[in-house]
């Protein structure tokens, strides 16, 4: 079962719509730098 109303393959027109600005999105980040999310290192040190 996928949907109560037998709905599948939902498409929309491929049009550009406004989206959130980077500033707005980053305003809630635990840490940010140079308009990017700042995260702890992901690779182990040698």
């Amino acid at each position: 079962m996928t949907h109560a109303a037998d709905l599948s393959n939902v498409f929309r027109e491929d049009v550009v719509t406004p989206c959130l600005s980077a500033d707005v999105v980053l305003s809630q980040a635990p840490a940010a730098e140079d308009r990017r999310f700042k995260v702890p290192r992901i690779l182990a040190e040698d």
Binding site: H3, A4, L7, V24, V25, Q28, P30, F37
Partner: protein, 498 residues
Amino acid sequence: MATDSDLTTLTAAEMAAALAGSEVSAVELTKAHLARINETDVQVRAFLHVASDGALAAARAVDERRAAGEPLGPLAGVPLALKDVFTTTDMPTTCGSKILAGWQPPYDATITARLRAAGVVILGKTNMDEFAMGSSTENSAFGPSRNPWDLARVPGGSSGGSAAAVAAYQAPLRICGLVGVKPTYGGSSRYGLVAFASSLDTPGPLTRTVLDAALLHEAISGHDPCDSTSLDAPVPPVVAAAKNADVAGLRIGVVTELTGEGYASGVLSCFNEAIELLESLGAKVIEVSCPHFRYALPAYYLIAPSECSSNLARFDGMRYGLRVGDDGTRNADEVMSLTRAAGFGAEVKRRIMLGTYALSSGYYDAYYGKAQQVRTLITRDFSAAFEQADVLVSPTTPTTAFPIGERVDDPMAMYLADLATIPGNLAGNAAMSVPCGLAPEDGLPVGLQIMAPVLADDRLYRVGAAVEFALDQRRGHRLLTQARGIERAPGPIGEAGR
């Protein structure tokens, strides 16, 4: 001029009529509700956030538009509390979890946006079980809300704060003596609803009367291109159905598997009275059997945790929400683990672990896959039953509101509270709970569950309104006027059950 306490006991439809007739302004109505919250929420603890300034500004805007003669929606100026699962740009959204404490979403949920556009005044955000996982609000990271009928009892869940708020400003849902509706899955948008189990999550109204639920149902429903599971279909005529309230000739099926053993005697006596009442109003009552419903609870507790474990993977402490242990010495994996260990409560962790296990390689087919097959069988049971009956009915919960603390250490007992509502949740059809009396043994409200086929939500309102009207007539007043919890409140409540 009506007093503040009169204003907070009105139904939404009555408030709307008073606003339209200029007997009261939206600002007066909002101030009365904010005062009532201030007076009672120390005890009830329904709210996680009260938005006094925002609510008054929204109310003022509605009053100005009304004064200017602009056309307004039927609920313009009526106050409402939003469950803290809906994103709001001007209020924090926590979903009852420490991992989202203080988070200010960058966008409004579709439902939030529709309410604002309808001129509904949002008073604040209400308490809930963490990520909606629970049946009592005891799983909220911010402490439980209390049942205004009896402050030592739970208000139900996961929307307990909402239920307590709607009931308290009289004196959730089924065990607070309220009307709750789960629209057909896809009938109300999930965009901006913090995800728990995507194939099950269904936002809906929680109100004092069936007509109020219908007005809210209509305001929040309809196709949303931002939610790919949203149905591009007309909204069922729920308001007309709530006003019609005619059940003559309607075929009502009592689900044999959802009555009897395990249900409290007071719950069953109220339920049976409601059935007799419907028969006296001209409905044809029959018994129907749905043999696979007995597997609904185990299937639900594989499907819901599986989807939860996948959805909650997003809370990784990287882009928003809590981050713990990022002191420059730890890598991302370690910070993620520390963040999730500190940010999630016990029930959420339990479900993430169950779900991760059920979805793991080699077990997926045996658990999640099998549960989805059971779900299809349950859906077929519904289809067969709806060939014989226009709506199905059962008690909403096996017992009335249980005392705070009674089930916190026994997840299975807690899960059983949802026994009767889970089959409809799995199948995705429409369901309503409407109060059908007070159980003789404890004087607490009992809910009648009504279930209708996909996109036949209007049938719920016909039956619910008929029951509500007949019971109000017999009683001589609305059920909620009997709520007595706040008045006999025993001060701050201790460490129940800890």
